[in-house]
């Protein structure tokens, strides 16, 4: 069994969501000329946005179930693929507008992918602009057990550990959903703590820092202590940065835990228990150093197989670092993803 936890279906444009949008928002989209949401997180034509052999002659990659199956499931021998739509509905500021588009995107995923190929699983995309509405959307979609996680982006208005967001985690636990945090910004803050970079390359590299702030926040605010069964999956986050961050949190936890008295486990324990990271991108030279990073993390159970389809992260079908042996590859492909997603646990 192989499970790919990070596949991006392409939403062609706003009209593709019309069948799933209420009439009012269809009319508004036409009247106001909202024809597309083209995210600055992934400008379509950058060399990173799509692998050359996955880029269609026209339009976005990965827009149909059959195309993704033929390019991303079959060549890799993948049995189950988790879909993480990146159509940037999180960029809307108005509660109702954001909610309508998030719901439409989730219904689009269900109808266009889950209903067409049993190998796909879905993510419930929510806008964090209104937490009550996000919880309603989770409750609405969760009845369909093909949705396996709630999906948010790594750059948010407020840090994800804040109690504002806890009802979302409560809903995740209630429904047996994991929390997926994917690379990208809601653009409520600058991409770095020093403002806006000049280059897209800097934006992309900075996603790793966004994840580091979020992991620190979730740890310090006590989310893992309040919800000890919650699994948090960091997607397209990179993972070579994890040991250095854990050591730094451990350093200051030693001196400053009076600020966060509810934290009852070390950051290293919390990661082993509750945090997971997708395999791709692999941010390092393909040397033994990558295997050593797994030792530094202190667990071989935290990395989950992913292609990051259709993003351009590797060539051919060779996703794994050379230094990862067959045992580790099996864990990453099968055991670890099942353990990360309660709703995948019973797959055979």
């Amino acid at each position: 069994m192989q499970i790919d936890v990070d596949i991006h279906p392409g939403t062609p444009d706003v009209a593709a969501l019309f069948p799933y949008l209420p009439e009012h928002w269809r009319d508004m989209s036409v009247m106001r000329g909202i024809t597309d949401l083209h995210s600055a997180n992934y400008p379509d034509m950058t060399p990173l946005a799509a692998r050359p052999d996955w880029r269609p002659p026209k339009g976005r990659p990965g827009t149909s179930a059959s195309l993704i199956a033929s390019q991303c499931l079959e060549p890799f021998g993948t049995n189950v693929g988790i879909l993480n739509p990146l159509f940037p509905v999180q960029t809307f500021y108005a509660d109702d507008l954001a909610q309508a588009f998030a719901s439409a995107l989730n219904d689009w995923t269900r109808a266009e992918f889950l209903d067409r190929d049993v190998r796909f699983r879905g993510s419930i995309v929510v806008s964090l602009e209104n937490v009550e509405m996000a919880v309603e959307e989770i409750d609405r979609c969760a009845a369909d057990t093909r949705f396996v996680q709630v999906l948010v982006l790594a750059g948010t208005a407020r840090l994800l550990g804040r109690r504002t967001y806890w009802p979302i985690y409560e809903a995740c636990v209630r429904h047996g959903l994991s929390l997926g945090i994917h690379a990208g910004q809601d653009f409520r803050n600058a991409p770095t703590a020093l403002g806006w970079p000049s280059y897209y390359l800097e934006d992309y590299v900075a996603h790793a820092q966004s994840f580091q702030y979020q992991l620190t926040s979730l740890f310090c605010e006590g989310v893992f202590n309040r919800y000890p069964t919650l699994k948090v999956v960091m997607l397209e986050s990179g993972w070579t940065w994890v040991p250095a961050l854990l050591w730094r949190i451990a350093k200051y936890w030693g001196g400053l835990r009076f600020e966060v008295p509810w934290t009852d486990r070390s950051p290293e324990e919390v990661v082993r228990d509750q945090l997971r990271f997708s395999l791709t991108p692999i941010d390092g030279p393909d040397t033994d150093q990558l295997r050593r990073v797994i030792d530094h993390i202190g667990s071989d159970q935290v990395i989950l197989f992913s292609t990051d389809y259709p993003h351009n992260q590797f060539d051919g079908i060779d996703v794994f670092p050379t230094a990862f042996d067959a045992t580790l590859r099996k864990i990453i492909s099968d055991d670890a993803p099942r353990a990360a997603y309660p709703r995948l646990g019973s797959l055979t």
Partner: protein
């Protein structure tokens, strides 16, 4: 554990004994301005940090000088408690007295000039093991360049000091006059964690805790280093020496791998870069050690030293702050005599040379 004699300390913080300590070098206008308006920065409180420290002045509770004053405000007690007690052969002063990042640029410039005099005349003249940092009003880069040129020939100064939280990413062209002046004078630029950028302390807003702010300096420094490399600062000034102070360093191998990987894909966006990002970093960048991160297995730190190179990391104590690193307890894993020598003295000699 024995350490080599004459340790070099890359991060010592001198503090004012009283608010009037800078008056001898401040024009009357700015003495009055300071009294009436304070040093207004891009932060809510006139004095101190909005993230309250874990102890008064973030200082060691045993570092109050016997004659009075805050921790780090006495030359004689610093000599006794730090330099003599820990066999420090020489060390660099990094004043964190509010001055850089003060919003009124003329006020900022006046404070920086006064602090530079105060370091040289009160500290370095009294204790030859110390060296000063040229504190510059970095949000006014032209004035900063002039301040660098003013002191560059004075060997009491060993580096230019910036704080990590600048209002724009540090590679931004507005700051280039600073790097140009430093390169021209062949004086290293140290970027010390802290400051107030005006932006939230994370890319997702304000954190709740001082603990998060402290951890977050590592991420902010990653963004700053990324900017310096990608904007082409090291391509433009190939001999510029950059020292990241109190920023952590265990994150560096991972960042270098990430930069190289995605630069390979996106290099069409940055044709001005002739080398890979990690090649610039290995050529132009050094780190000071404190705060040394703490893995459960301390031997993992040796991997980081090996990956980054033992020639890149220099000891620092951060005296008199509470998270001070003691040189006899900082390398808690097997290392050779040569490696320790590089870490405690050799690397700093290579970076700071004759100064």
């Amino acid at each position: 554990m024995n350490t080599p004699t004459g340790i070099w300390d890359g991060d010592i913080h001198p503090y004012l004994r009283s608010a009037t300590d800078l008056d001898p070098w401040l024009p009357k206008q700015w003495i009055e301005h300071q009294r009436n308006y304070g040093s207004l920065r891009q932060t809510p409180l006139v004095n101190g940090s909005a993230y309250h420290k874990s102890q008064p002045n973030a200082g060691r509770r045993d570092a109050y000088p016997p004659e009075g004053g805050v921790q780090g405000s006495s030359v004689s007690f610093l000599r006794e408690q730090l330099l003599d007690a820990h066999n420090i052969g020489w060390g660099i002063l990094n004043p964190l007295v509010a001055s850089q990042g003060v919003r009124n640029l003329d006020h900022s410039a006046a404070l920086c000039r006064a602090i530079n005099h105060w370091q040289a005349e009160i500290w370095v003249d009294a204790e030859p093991r110390l060296r000063a940092s040229i504190v510059v009003p970095y949000e006014d880069p032209e004035t900063s360049a002039a301040e660098i040129r003013h002191w560059a020939g004075d060997n009491r100064f060993a580096q230019v000091l910036l704080l990590s939280r600048t209002s724009f990413l540090p590679g931004n062209r507005r700051y280039w006059p600073i790097y140009e002046a430093a390169a021209e004078a062949n004086i290293p630029v140290g970027i010390h964690a802290f400051g107030n950028s005006g932006w939230p302390v994370s890319s997702s807003g304000w954190s709740s805790f001082y603990m998060e702010e402290m951890i977050g300096h590592a991420q902010t420094s990653q963004a700053g280093l990324t900017s310096l490399v990608i904007e082409g600062v090291f391509e433009r000034w190939p001999t510029l020496k950059l020292v990241l102070v109190e920023s952590g360093f265990t994150w560096a191998p991972s960042l270098m791998g990430r930069l190289d990987k995605h630069w390979k894909t996106l290099k069409s966006e940055v044709p001005h870069l002739k080398l890979s990002p990690s090649e610039y970093i290995r050529r132009n960048v050094w780190w000071t050690s404190q705060p040394m991160d703490e893995p459960e297995n301390r031997r993992y730190l040796a991997d980081i030293f090996n990956w980054l190179g033992w020639d890149r990391i220099m000891f620092s104590s951060d005296y008199p702050h509470w998270d001070f690193d003691d040189p006899s307890r900082v390398i808690m894993f097997p290392a050779t005599h040569e490696q320790k020598h590089a870490f405690f003295t050799g690397n700093a000699q290579a970076v700071y040379g004759s100064r």
